[in-house]
Symmetry: C3
Subunit: 389 residues, 3 copies
């Protein structure tokens, strides 16, 4: 049986109607849809055992790229790969930890780290950055959205304009006397292509103005990360976050040298990027041998602030780098507000952002990406030596 399309979205979760499909699968064979002969599949299941008890995940295989989305964890992407090229890292946290086992206020507001093992999470929506006091509000590390379960989940298999798989989710961060923000996200992938895209909208559900912050925390370990790997982007200006990051006097801030022995502590760099006339820009993590890469593409009008997190610890204690396009820098929210980097939405207003992650699996692809970034680098980067904080 061959279809031109699957007409209707497949509804998996809808809290408003008490719909919750726990186990489900569709594949190119069943659907009779196989563009260019591609074999693809999408399946949902519930994990069990340890701290992942009850976590609902959706596994996608587009024929070339495989990835796992966790609706229970704010619709994050837990892991992905294109053949041998793993997108993700070796976290001390190996299970997709269910929010029931996480207390964000623990350890002085650092509880977010109890379940931090994913490839791409979102930080926000009320705040990003370190725990801080903000007037009479207490913010915990990177906000709540990464530990809120989706209230709505649907899957669409589209044939036009291009054949693609779309996971649509709605996650509400709403509470009394607090944020009333809705994340509506579509994570999509073209069948047979080594890339996936986030298409996210944050909506102020209230009729009063509300602030928001959003950051994509994309994390990479080996095989992309390694001594000699490089972060490459059309940097307009860059500064070290603190004295630790400033230690190297910004001489090789974008080059990786680890893993380092115990005692190493993280380095963070804050930057703004050049973009094309439409605001589009790219940032690349290039493997040491130049044959592999991960390209992050987004619009600086939506995500004007880029953070690079280098945590070149020992191989087994959280060796990772984060590429983090965002509405704001991950500094304490009062700092961001004072700097004018906290978007404010009127009642009913929305803020949209798109991010595309592409896996580059040949030297030629990496070269092309570097050349493209080079064309965006209109002027030399302005490199600050003094730390921001």
């Amino acid at each position: 049986m061959a279809h031109d399309a699957i007409e209707d979205p497949i509804l998996l979760t809808d809290a408003t109607r008490n719909v919750s499909v726990k186990e489900w699968k569709i594949s190119s064979e069943e659907a009779g849809i196989a563009p260019d002969g591609a074999k693809w599949s999408v399946s949902k299941r519930v994990l069990a055992g340890g701290r992942q008890e009850g976590v609902e995940i959706i596994d996608v295989d587009n024929g070339v790229m495989k990835f796992t989305v966790a609706p229970t964890r704010g619709f994050q992407v837990w892991k992905a790969n294109v053949g041998d090229l793993r997108l993700g890292w070796d976290s001390p946290v190996t299970e997709i930890v269910h929010p029931q086992f996480v207390n964000l206020a623990e350890r002085g507001g650092l509880g977010w780290l109890n379940g931090f093992g994913e490839w791409v999470s979102r930080c926000g929506l009320e705040s990003i950055g370190p725990p801080c006091q903000d007037g009479n509000r207490t913010h915990t590390l990177h906000g709540r959205i990464n530990y809120l379960p989706a209230s709505y989940v649907e899957v669409r298999i589209e044939l036009a304009p291009v054949p693609r798989i779309v996971l649509r989710g709605v996650v509400d961060e709403s509470l009394m006397f607090g944020p009333q923000l809705r994340l509506t996200t579509e994570i999509s992938t073209e069948i047979g292509k080594p890339a996936l895209s986030f298409d996210d909208t944050v909506t102020n559900l209230s009729d009063a103005p509300q602030e928001m912050e959003s950051l994509y925390h994309a994390n990479f370990g080996p095989p992309l990360l390694g001594p000699g790997a490089q972060f490459i982007a059309p940097v307009k200006k860059v500064a070290p976050r603190d004295s630790r990051a400033a230690e190297g006097q910004m001489k090789a801030w974008n080059v990786y040298t680890g893993p380092h022995p115990p005692g190493y502590t993280e380095e963070v760099y804050l930057m703004e990027l050049h973009a094309d006339d439409a605001g589009m820009t790219d940032a690349l993590l290039k493997s040491a041998d130049g044959t592999k890469g991960a390209l992050v593409s987004f619009n600086i009008r939506e995500l004007p602030f880029m953070t690079l997190w280098k945590n070149e610890a020992t191989a087994k204690s959280g060796y990772v780098t984060g590429l983090e396009p965002a509405t704001s820098f991950p500094l304490p929210k009062p700092v961001e507000r004072d700097a004018g980097r906290v978007p404010k939405l009127n009642g009913g207003e929305s803020y949209s952002s798109k991010v595309k992650f592409s896996a580059l699996i040949s030297g030629a692809e990496v070269e092309n990406a570097i050349a493209s970034i080079g064309r965006l680098q209109r002027t030399a980067p302005k490199v600050e030596i003094s730390p921001v904080l």
Copy 2:
């Protein structure tokens, strides 16, 4: 098949015997019991999706009034209605949030607000009121009972003395070096009547004395709440909680004027009421046009302190008023203890309280309620201008 009664209670949950019926239903048709031809039903189910994943609820329809009890949330009443007359409000929290997603200590002890969307919750049992330090104890907003799951649930369908539906629940707030208090509650409704009653008993399970506090947090938005709506009760004395509540110099403290634009902050009034010789009293929330109302009836010997909470914020950011009969005022527990407003139970001793909520659906019913309250108003209310805090 017609019955005179359903002989035995229907057991739905009993943690001591590991009984847990997740899906269940009974109706007038099945039971063959239909007093005066009334159609009624009671059903239990488990919610799924978003933050309500795993919440067990019991839906009751007595033929005239419908309401939903959430055993998972301290046997609270999430919502109710009599035809068009909704008892409840439009909270930013639209899901019945499961305790697994709530951390009471979050946001400086304000975590209770993460799931605050219900019509009637209980506050307590160790403490009510704002987060506070109380010697070496730390109390979070409004205590724990509203986020504790019931250990025992049964349903009874009674024919005599009047046909009614009774939900019985037991919720334990007990921990080592802390409270050992058991709430045994019966939420009942006469078949075909627009009212429901709480009949609650708090028991000290210990053999050592224990303090307790209990408050019924009954929350109303439109259609009852609106500009011109009024709170009417036989007030003996009333005082503004703080300088904010004192701003209007108590000239129209019982009249509603909102919703107000962003920037508005809540007003709280603390009062004691007159009652009849048996201690019975009534408090009324009257709609602006006087055709609808909610009447709260209770005994001031059980619940001597009444709080009115006005939160006339924008329509979508928590526009609500709370009528809150209680053992104490919702002030920091040390303040209440010093004022002699914290009941202390000896080992094994119990404290009982009953509250009845009636929906008034005609001008005549509202007039009757006002007249009845008028008869209780033996002397003019003593109105304090100065704030309590």
Copy 3:
């Protein structure tokens, strides 16, 4: 059908392979294995109702001793008994509380007490003792391991060298920028014997050094605890923890006199024990009439520090005594570190400890234990009068 052995371990939980068997049972009849005619059984089920909703437990009956292990609660032993001799106590907490209902940071870091009702729990693995600030780390009471669910569970029925039942569990305490410690535990019991053993290994999963602490919190109420009951051990030195414990000038620190009226507060004694040449030692809780006892056997090279906790409160408010062999004393971790009592494991390194609990059910058995302890008491105990803190 008779077997010589059950060849393979029975796998009940494996998070890495998403295996989770919720209901399961095996018995001597089914297995056809009944050494000396003993009837035994092992079964797994999931509890429901109240705060125990979702807790997975394994009930073991070895023909003489019955006990319940809770994989969901760090593989603790909730309760045990040998006929009339109950090992355990009457806690205010009567349900095996699921971690979803516990917030360790609550009440100033005392949230651990919300579910404290078990016979034997483990404290640790990052820290034991009271809540404290430790540099930039915040430790909550007795650490996390007692509220982490097992990621791996298997059951083995072995015939050689002795017929025994073994429950094997793996519990990971791992988070980013925090501990990366794995508890691998075997709780075993010889068929037909009134004893069970813990055989635990804590492994540093990182490649960087990590500290750890581990304490066995074994708790006893009646019938062992009562006025005239005694703690007997080959004490090398003992000291009162604080001024409260020092009140009695150490004259009868090892004798029980309660239950006491409200107002009583706990007493804690810190000690080191003598041992045999292999390091093995015993500590005994003897009933007042000398006909019953609980013997705790362990190796002081693994568990060099012993704590006695006396909480002789009223019968219903947590009347209990704790015998607590450990790697460290349950004092604030910085105190323990300064005293050199915090083990540090290199990357991949492990720390093993074994503890055996034997129920003594006759005067003769108790006499034998006392005599054995007497032989270990080579020199008179050094009794400190001044408190440690």
